[in-house]
Point group: D2
Chain length 332, copies 4
Amino acid sequence: MNNFGRLFRISLFGESHGIQVGVTIDGCPAGIPLTEDDLIKELDRRRSGAKGTTPRKESDMPNIVSGVFNNYTTGAPITVLFENANTRSKDYSQFLDIPRPGHADFTAQQKFKGFQDYRGGGHFSGRITLALVTAGAIAKKLIHPVEIKSDILEIGGNPNIQEAIDNAIRNKDSVGGIIRCIATNMPAGLGEPFFDKTESLLAHIIFAIPAIKGLEFGAGFEAAKMWGSENNDNYITADGKTDTNNAGGINGGITSGNDLVLKVVVKPTSSTSQKQRTLNVKTGEMTEFIVEGRHDTCIALRVPVVLESAVAIVLADLMMQEQQIPKVYEKK
Amino acid sequence: MNNFGRLFRISLFGESHGIQVGVTIDGCPAGIPLTEDDLIKELDRRRSGAKGTTPRKESDMPNIVSGVFNNYTTGAPITVLFENANTRSKDYSQFLDIPRPGHADFTAQQKFKGFQDYRGGGHFSGRITLALVTAGAIAKKLIHPVEIKSDILEIGGNPNIQEAIDNAIRNKDSVGGIIRCIATNMPAGLGEPFFDKTESLLAHIIFAIPAIKGLEFGAGFEAAKMWGSENNDNYITADGKTDTNNAGGINGGITSGNDLVLKVVVKPTSSTSQKQRTLNVKTGEMTEFIVEGRHDTCIALRVPVVLESAVAIVLADLMMQEQQIPKVYEKK
Amino acid sequence: MNNFGRLFRISLFGESHGIQVGVTIDGCPAGIPLTEDDLIKELDRRRSGAKGTTPRKESDMPNIVSGVFNNYTTGAPITVLFENANTRSKDYSQFLDIPRPGHADFTAQQKFKGFQDYRGGGHFSGRITLALVTAGAIAKKLIHPVEIKSDILEIGGNPNIQEAIDNAIRNKDSVGGIIRCIATNMPAGLGEPFFDKTESLLAHIIFAIPAIKGLEFGAGFEAAKMWGSENNDNYITADGKTDTNNAGGINGGITSGNDLVLKVVVKPTSSTSQKQRTLNVKTGEMTEFIVEGRHDTCIALRVPVVLESAVAIVLADLMMQEQQIPKVYEKK
Amino acid sequence: MNNFGRLFRISLFGESHGIQVGVTIDGCPAGIPLTEDDLIKELDRRRSGAKGTTPRKESDMPNIVSGVFNNYTTGAPITVLFENANTRSKDYSQFLDIPRPGHADFTAQQKFKGFQDYRGGGHFSGRITLALVTAGAIAKKLIHPVEIKSDILEIGGNPNIQEAIDNAIRNKDSVGGIIRCIATNMPAGLGEPFFDKTESLLAHIIFAIPAIKGLEFGAGFEAAKMWGSENNDNYITADGKTDTNNAGGINGGITSGNDLVLKVVVKPTSSTSQKQRTLNVKTGEMTEFIVEGRHDTCIALRVPVVLESAVAIVLADLMMQEQQIPKVYEKK
């Protein structure tokens, strides 16, 4: 199921080492100014290159092939393509027999019985998040005046990010982290009970981001230690602002107009330079191996823009449902 | 959006103090033995009555009105109704002006502008989870040989549940807790990348359960503190069993055949016997109030069966997609 | 798949001789005045009783059990139930072996392998159209200023309806007919290319009405005999009115503001008082039989209100997508 | 809404004179042999070139960019792209003011307020049916042993096709026609009451094909003239074959195993070499004009393969729902 969304609908495709990766955004209003440059700004935030991320130069140039005319969206589906390039010809087929711990090698094989494109993770690759960031860049244009920001709270349990990364590189191991996302200037009233509560839709798309294994809103797991009288947020203004924000801006699945606050955990990159033990499922023998080649020490560093994109996509859809975004913008 | 599911589809309706609450299950295979008694077993687990839960005697008798013939499902939509009864006639309209902290009073008003049925939480009431438990009871019949169990890990930060409840009652406050759900005998290969990953679907429905504010799979937030080499689960058997289960039985969004393990946080019941401060949004004045009447000290106590139901509903759908559940069972 | 609609969503259930038939309407805006009386007006138009329709007194009293509070819709799902009553205890199980020509006896058996509720047609019964008419009655309240009217063009090939019915009764046979539906005061711009063209959505729901076997828009099949220059409708006013309306008010799947015009064919009632030959599929022997009991001579007579309802349901959804219907009405 | 399908899902995009047209097929089983050559066979049937079709040489070479690995489908979404080429730079913007009768110029302008890509019909162009034929070519590989064939019954009311075309060319006008589609070797039991009846799903996608204005199953509109005893198809074999096939192979929305038979009307091509009158909606003056350039005399000639594709797409989805098509094929 590679589609998501009710009114702002995205549909993605592609594999890490295939020909192209892409995304189709259907239901986007007509009349939004849009060029490749608008996308590049966001896509660059996702790029590797920083310390702790893979040095691979990805081919991240977006190519808008439909749905935009005279630099404005038309109301027809917008498709954005990315060529795959710079892929190494190393032999990934070994991972069919010796599935890498933490990767999807084993589960993909169970599901697709050897037909999956296993090169570089195939359709399970983090490269597919290009599609999310592209759709998110467009969604961000719609959700005015909402602003979405993400920051890294900790890496490997350490709030000093750089120190944590240096540490991991020194240890030749990978690390994960915790990312927070905050949306400000939120409208009240978003979310569609019972099943399309704001948390439900956000959780749906956020858990589709590779490596996310936990999600909490507001006080999250801390709420389990509080009294109700502590955890409840008291209203202090007539437009619903509260003194605390343990609810993360959502009550009963509906936004309250307070900041939307959520945190996710990104697991450590599955590929690590440490020697690992795993099973050769064909021979039944335990084996040791080291994942060779380039890989991110900490994939969490690249998650903030992906997380923001996921949030923007959901908010765009919900604001469209609330008729806070027009079907067609005014022509200038 | 009160529908959920692709092949095993549920559609729910009702308000706390309305005439009836109910659920329609569409897409359920034909040929499953089903009577009201099958449902009652599960529904009873959700009932109040235990210490820490509301003494209100709910009218929880299910009434199957369609989709079952000669005690077997027919393949047509199954509708199960519950009469509402024993509702007190107290005045809930005051909460339009003085929204209760933690409740959906304010957000519902923002969204539905006064048309919402505000009595007893209306469509936001926990009573609606009757629908989930009903659908879950049916789903559990389909997902053989999978077994789902939930347990309460802690209440108010205390692993001694009874002590925690007694404490809260003594303090005249409410508490939350952490619930774990485990599914065993799991098939490998469930989950539909990119957006219908197993975590995504589970998260979608789980966050629709009132009072859930966080969810993690396997090691969850703890993974942020581990090295990759620690967090990775090493395969030890040819059918994919791993030595650890930090992934919670899911890699790349697809089940591995290891136990599915997840935890949720249930926030403290919003209604508490403590005096609370909130705003009269009409007059703009701060006011103090105490929520009167019956309410659960700890709603988390009633969540396990709801959580299991949510998991069962998703697994039934995914197993149907994998053709592991027939469209029509063999006639006996 | 008993759900239909994107924003105005209906979900129906029930069998002819089961306990209840019903419908849930999800996504209906809050603030619409609604009582059972509003529904009865439309439901009465569907009632039997006229010459040529079955004399069975159906239990057609609607019971709104959710989604309405103080006589206004709340924004939560609206469920309307109908008790089944006055069902005869005749033996329908014989039709498992001797499937009635024209009925769904054989196909239901092929699909549901004997688990289907075969009494009175079960879930295939025309009684299920109560659900459509109910949803349609609500939809009609939303689509202001659009007016929908249906009329019977011919019965048994005869534009004199009464004569045709009398003829059929005299011949102890059943007849079908052609029904036209026209929607006036149409907004331009409805329809969502490529797949949710106005014709596509209308056709989807209209072919779900039992006994409909053909549908055409505007000139329909006659267009095959015209030159392009004849068939094209020439614009004569700046708001898009055309001199002819061979397109039936839709171009490129999008409404033009001209009247929406469509015609359907309703096949003759499958139950007829004529002796029929069919096969005993168990013994393999040809057999003759006469369908006993009450049945409509001409089910087409009851279709107009059902057809209008189907059209209203689609237009409500499309007008909601165009933001021509508010999510919440103004409070009076 | 450019998506269609429950399990076999297609998503299309592109404009006539844009950069690329394409389709993503999601949910296709893994393990189907697939190369561009497989697609070309079907795409060639849609090509122009025959007398009565436009001489434009379209760039109809498919490019599979995802979802296929080692010449087999992988289970990941399959995207197929087509470059647009050979587009003339004529000025289409005049049609914003002077909408061509029969075309979507006026309705697109009403809906998209000038942002639509109006060149060559944009997203409304018949070129988009490349996407349908591509998806249909894949669907046909899945629905074994079903065979689908289409034929042209009449053009311009004349069963002599060539004569009709010659006539139209001589008259410098365009003509429409009636196309029949038959699927043989049909399984019984396809179709999902109430809303996803076989007719409903077929009608949904068929009316999305440009220029289709009518659809009938089996006897279709003729049924309105028959007695019930004539129209009913009598069973003559134990596996459900009937002596006549007035139902077109569908009863109660479910296939009976008899041939699926349907007919559509294709309206005459809107572009005609005849002088036409229309309104300049800006100046309010009537004007005469002739559509210049290349256009099909009879678009109906190109419809058969598109119609077959639409039928194949629906049958693939329904057969997947019946578990008659595996999720993953056996590896050879």
